[in-house]
Symmetry: C2
Subunit: 340 residues, 2 copies
């Protein structure tokens, strides 16, 4: 039984640092691309057999220490009553949320009846994994989901959602509140279905000033983590988190998953020793030379130390990553020995 990942989440001693990668089941794998030839992205998220197969690919190909189930953060958004499509440019929402009436129309779905395939995927994965490798559930955090719902897709300046925040904050808060209820229930359903840890992706919360982070992102994350309770390790990811790390540390997260912009030793100094850190290699390093991959991986391991660290990227693995470099990363983490 490989429980390194769970032990590291709890700051317990481990024989070596555990490793997995955000978006590890993805386009950089040929086996994944082969399946995607036959089926669209959102359909794949809803096809239990294929989603299970794809979730397990990185375990078989790279031998990582954790399996994250294959899905998309917009799956529960769709269940709230929003029409989502995925194009080459990313997610697209035909009718973005712009008014209080739009927010009121949204439902808080019951996951077991409205997103049952996610539970089925997790149960099947637990069955396949037989406790040999831990299974991770995940969801988007309210602020990040709201950005897609209001901007109608990806964004550069997040001007639509911020306009709403600065003209009609109550409407935005109404949306964030419904999202928090949805995501809290959704993650608890994932845990009941077999997830042994959960990661909340607040990817775009790093675009906020600290004051706005404290109002429009943080309280909803804290509420979700509180409702989950501390039986299951809770991981919080924010891209571009260095200015809000101290606030994130008070969210109830057991693990903060950080991007590459801040040295992990400095992140540790800022958040103290009460929680674990996950990260934080720049995914672009995997596009470079093998010697550089090795050097950068070892730098992070040395800086992070042996306790309370899970090796990961600072953002999702890029589709253009050579699979040999992803494997090299995993192998370097496994070969590394912390000096006493």
């Amino acid at each position: 039984m490989n429980d390194r990942f769970i032990r590291a989440c709890r700051r317990e001693p481990v024989d070596r640092t555990p490793v997995w990668m955000m978006r590890q089941a993805g386009r950089y794998l040929k086996d994944y691309r082969d399946i995607r030839q036959k089926i669209g992205f959102l359909d794949l998220c809803k096809n239990v057999d294929l989603a299970v197969e794809v979730s397990l690919q990185p375990l078989h190909i790279l031998d990582v220490d954790a399996v994250i189930f294959f899905s998309d953060i917009l799956i529960p958004v769709e269940a709230m009553g929003i029409e989502v499509s995925l194009t080459d440019k990313g997610p697209e929402i035909a009718n973005p949320i712009r008014s209080r009436a739009d927010v009121e129309r949204l439902r808080v779905p019951d996951p077991s009846s409205e997103i049952p395939f996610t539970g089925a995927i997790l149960r099947a994965l637990r069955n396949e994994l037989r406790n040999a490798t831990p299974l991770v559930g995940f969801a988007g955090a309210p602020w990040t989901l709201a950005t897609y719902m209001i901007e109608g897709g990806g964004s550069k300046s997040f001007s639509e959602i911020k306009s709403l925040a600065y003209t009609d904050p109550r409407t935005l808060e109404g949306l964030l509140d419904k999202l928090a209820s949805t995501i809290s229930a959704y993650l608890r359903y994932q845990i009941e279905s077999g997830a042994q840890a959960v990661q909340l992706f607040d990817t775009w919360a790093g675009e906020l000033s600290r004051r706005d982070y404290e109002r429009f992102a943080f309280p909803y994350v804290r509420r979700i983590f509180e409702e989950i309770g501390n039986f299951t390790p809770r991981i919080l990811y924010v891209n571009g988190c260095s200015a809000i790390l101290n606030v994130m540390a008070r969210s109830g997260a057991d693990v903060l998953s950080i991007d590459w912009r801040i040295p992990i030793s400095e992140a540790r100094a800022r958040v103290g020793n009460a929680l674990s850190l996950q990260g934080n290699l720049d995914p672009c390093v995997l596009l470079g030379s093998r010697s550089n991959v090795k050097e950068r991986v070892e730098d992070i391991l040395r800086e992070a130390g042996p306790v309370g660290h899970i090796f990961n990227l600072g953002h999702g693995i890029l589709p253009t990553t050579p699979v040999e470099n992803a494997r090299l990363l995993v192998d370097c983490v496994k070969a590394y020995r912390h000096t006493a």
Copy 2:
């Protein structure tokens, strides 16, 4: 004579905090859009009379404390021998730099003979301003210019330039070196032509890990600032700078221009009292309510204190900004009195 801006750059006492806005001559102004109806963006940068007119619009319409000359950071890149076009989506470079041979072909232009219109614009502006309002020159920093030259335009993950950094760092360093020579000469030419302060835009340096910032961005900025010398205040802007502020503080800059993600009081605590700070309102605040604009502007003024602060946005003003809100920002800064 309004020298508040220059005095604040030098941490000298001022009667009130000076204010201007990045990209203050731009599409949010009807007078600017009227001129752009008649002339393309790059042509406008090269048309001395119209560029002067556009540069002065924010002074006349908003009564800001500094005038920045109208231009684009890619103007010297074009003079190096790169074909630049500007589309609705931003800058586009038809033949991006990918090899050492590409770098070797680039010229280090003599600004007085190859970009003479920038000197003419600055001289004409100094003549118009008659020392009543300070005139700011600017350029893109080597790393940021290199991102456009290598990615071929804007980017989300900066994977092309980082691939080069991690496979063939010497070629990238060759490019950065040529860019540093070009920009150093270009800014000195701007100063000779009348610029009374210069701002270096290293907009995308916040995408680097600290280690990469220290290798691929910082040394070139420091060299440029050293070659300029300390007769003219030097301002360094980076978007998403909180993880590298301490390094930026050693660049030789007199002023660090910071984005909104870090509270300005915390930026001050990190960099100490040896230099000034410029910023740091989220430009999206100007898309919201008037009461919120006032509150946020006053928060920053209070946090920053009366000495060594220039009020500005944390990034360029957005094209959708209502001009009344831009004016409100300026008026709020002018009305504010620091308590002793």
